[in-house]
């Protein structure tokens, strides 16, 4: 875990006081809402349908037990006792009073957390792989790079008023668990001649015009990554469209001028910028790296898991994945109970997970882009005790990557932009497919729901995606098939005319029936779809 030094702490503390001053000016009327809006948006404070929403950054999805407990305490003290984990590994409070926001930030600062740049047209929180540091297949831990980028992007003077928001992901494994190529810039760490550097992808994204990012460079060394990213951002800042906010993301620029031309411009700018001494010395990354070094694992541990309890065994098979260290396991905690709100956790649940992290996971936990939590360093011998505690707290759902492990945006229940309600639909789908054996039979099936075209629920990247739209004042749901946010990234295709809420649940059932009838060997739903195409599914739905 990274720890702030006095420089990091003083910058975050100064931000709290700056925001307190801005809120004070708003409350006394010295600032109008119009003048205040850009200031609060730089700090993750949105005015939603019913109240203010505050988005707290969880850099690259890693946090300690103490930080998690603080998130739970804030949920109790300032919200209605809930927090909502987002697809960018952040946490949102949906019921915040403006006057409380500075105090919340001050509390966050005591545990080295902040809400800096969790909104606004700037570089947002850096996201990464929830298994960073514990999966056996990575070339290096991506988090030191992500922390380097967090610092570089914090209050970047040139890139604070970009054409539009800017999201960066860093991964280091062939299995992409972060939807890296659906980010404005994606970095994949690779090793070349024994040197670690990054492949760079640019111009991915979802929203109205979904794009899978093309590669713009096959290697940038660590001592040039900052100047290379400055070049990428400068070309975007200067030439990204500003006439239409729906065409302002970097994906549109890359698409309109073409990836070769964008790459050429970046290289030209990079040739200039790398002369300017913008890169921290390699000693800085060397300073950050030990914070993410392996914790003190015990050796000689048992690999045995007592599977006598069938409910526990089911959970182990679904939620627990291999750890690089013998005797340890990675535990995925589902935030997708069948009748719950995807990504929501109560204050009590948040505090419980904080306790579990401290007691059983070497004081560390992760947030995933699929809105679940991870205990990354668990002794196999402790799994049963953890499961019992999770079960008592309603956190032992065994549905990782199954059809009920749904990503959903907050939708019309909370969001001022939404056209349709995502949460009730997610609950209906979960109920329809509640049967454990049926879910297991369907296997890996990533279902993602967005309540409007902005695609916060990643519907383009769902094996099955659902987009809620408003059709003449009535909620209507379009169905998409064949998307993926993983290493085999692709965009879903719309099946045809949309459905009512119940109608789309029926249509999903027909789609899964076709899959079960047509699949060959060990095909996942996505594999079968890619082999047989849209037609059989379409016939079943509309025929």
């Amino acid at each position: 875990m990274y720890r702030y030094d006095s420089y990091d702490q003083s910058i975050v503390d100064a931000r709290v006081e700056e925001f307190r001053d801005q809120v004070q000016r708003r409350l006394t009327g010295a600032l109008t809402e119009d003048q205040f809006k850009p200031l609060r948006l730089m700090n993750g404070l949105y005015l939603q349908l019913h109240a203010y929403m505050l988005r707290v950054a969880i850099p690259y999805g890693t946090l300690s037990g103490k930080q998690m407990r603080k998130l739970g305490e804030i949920a109790n003290k300032y919200d209605k006792g809930y927090g909502h984990f987002t697809t960018r590994q952040n946490l949102q409070y949906n019921w915040i009073k403006l006057a409380d926001a500075p105090d919340i930030l001050a509390e966050l600062a005591t545990v080295e957390m902040h809400a800096i740049q969790t909104s606004g047209n700037c570089i947002r929180n850096i996201s990464s792989d929830q298994y960073a540091g514990v999966s056996a297949d990575e070339v290096a831990d991506p988090r030191p790079w992500a922390e380097l980028l967090r610092q570089w992007s914090t209050f970047h003077p040139e890139f604070t008023y970009l054409p539009r928001k800017f999201k960066i992901a860093v991964i280091a494994s062939d299995d992409d668990r972060s939807a890296m190529r659906l980010h404005d810039i994606g970095l994949k760490l690779v090793s070349k001649d024994g040197v670690i550097g990054a492949e760079v992808y640019a111009g991915g994204g979802m929203g109205r015009t979904p794009m899978v990012a093309p590669q713009i460079r096959d290697f940038v060394a660590e001592d040039e990554i900052i100047s290379y990213l400055e070049a990428c951002l400068r070309v975007y800042n200067r030439y990204g469209r500003r006439d239409n906010k729906y065409k302002a993301r970097i994906k549109i620029l890359v698409h309109e001028i073409g990836v070769d031309e964008y790459r050429r411009q970046v290289e030209e700018e990079f040739a200039h910028m790398k002369q300017l001494g913008l890169n921290p010395p390699t000693e800085e990354l060397d300073r950050i790296r030990p914070f993410f070094a392996n914790p003190a694992y015990e050796t000689g541990l048992s690999e045995e898991i007592d599977r006598a309890d069938p409910a526990f065994a089911l959970w182990v098979d679904r939620q627990v994945v291999a750890h690089k260290q013998p005797g340890y396991a990675i535990v995925n905690i589902s935030l997708k109970p069948l009748s719950g709100i995807p990504g929501d956790a109560s204050a009590d649940q948040i505090v419980l997970v904080a306790d579990l992290a401290e007691q059983y996971s070497l004081d560390e936990l992760r947030v995933t882009h699929a809105q679940n939590l991870v205990l990354p360093h668990v002794k196999k011998a402790d799994l049963y005790a953890i499961w019992q505690k999770l079960d008592e707290a309603g956190l032992a759902e065994a549905n990782l990557n199954l059809i009920t492990d749904i990503i959903a945006c907050p939708g019309l229940d909370y969001c001022a932009l939404a056209n349709a309600r995502s949460i009730p639909l997610a609950q209906k789908i979960a109920q329809r497919f509640a049967d454990t054996e049926r879910q297991a039979e369907l296997g890996e099936l990533k279902l993602k729901i967005s309540g409007c075209i902005n695609a916060c629920g990643h519907h383009h990247a769902g094996h099955i995606g659902i987009l809620g739209v408003d059709r003449k004042g009535v909620e209507n749901f379009q169905l998409l098939l064949g998307g993926s946010g993983a290493e085999d990234a692709s965009l879903g295709q719309i099946t045809g005319p949309g459905f009512s809420e119940d109608g789309v649940v029926d249509a999903i059932e027909k789609v899964t029936d076709i899959y079960l009838a047509q699949r060959e060997g060990g095909e996942r739903f996505l594999d079968t779809y890619r082999r047989i195409g849209m037609k059989p599914f379409k016939e079943a739905i509309y025929g």
Partner: protein, 146 residues
């Protein structure tokens, strides 16, 4: 309230700034104004005869002027670099970091608020052309930075 701020020694340039098009088409002007969307690099062949570059911000949210300023400074421009238009107190620090050394905001700024903003942050994470040492340089004083 201040409707003009300067961080330069000596008097501010008084000559009215001409457009980039007018400037590159004639030889005697010494002040020019860049609009968003105009390429600051068009001025690079003429830096030696410029004493004032104004960068216009018609709306504070259009950040192209930050890149324009930094490009000019990175290319050695040492004359007055003035932000004009929708320049707000909350942008002054970033603008200073990008090389602006004078400000002519459309709406006057509260002097005390500007003072508070300029002194708010003791440290910065990035190296720009403003000469401030980034945090990473302070963390590794054994390295020498030019």
């Amino acid at each position: 309230m201040a409707d003009f701020l300067s961080f330069r020694d000596g008097d501010a340039a008084q000559e009215p700034a001409v457009t980039v098009e007018a400037f590159t088409g004639q030889s005697n002007a010494t002040a020019v104004r860049i609009e968003p969307g105009e390429d600051a690099r068009d001025l690079l062949p003429h830096l030696d005869r410029l004493s004032l570059v104004e960068v216009n911000f018609p709306a504070y949210g259009d950040g192209r002027g930050y890149s324009a300023a930094r490009i000019l400074r990175e290319s050695g421009y040492a004359g007055e670099l003035r932000a004009v238009g929708d320049v707000l107190v909350d942008q002054i620090v970033a603008m200073r970091r990008c090389g602006f050394d004078s400000f002519h905001p459309a709406k006057p700024l509260d002097d005390a608020a500007v003072e508070r903003a300029l002194n708010r942050y003791d440290d910065v994470y990035q190296k720009t052309i403003d000469g401030r040492q980034p945090v990473w340089a302070k963390r590794h004083p054994e390295k020498i930075y030019g």
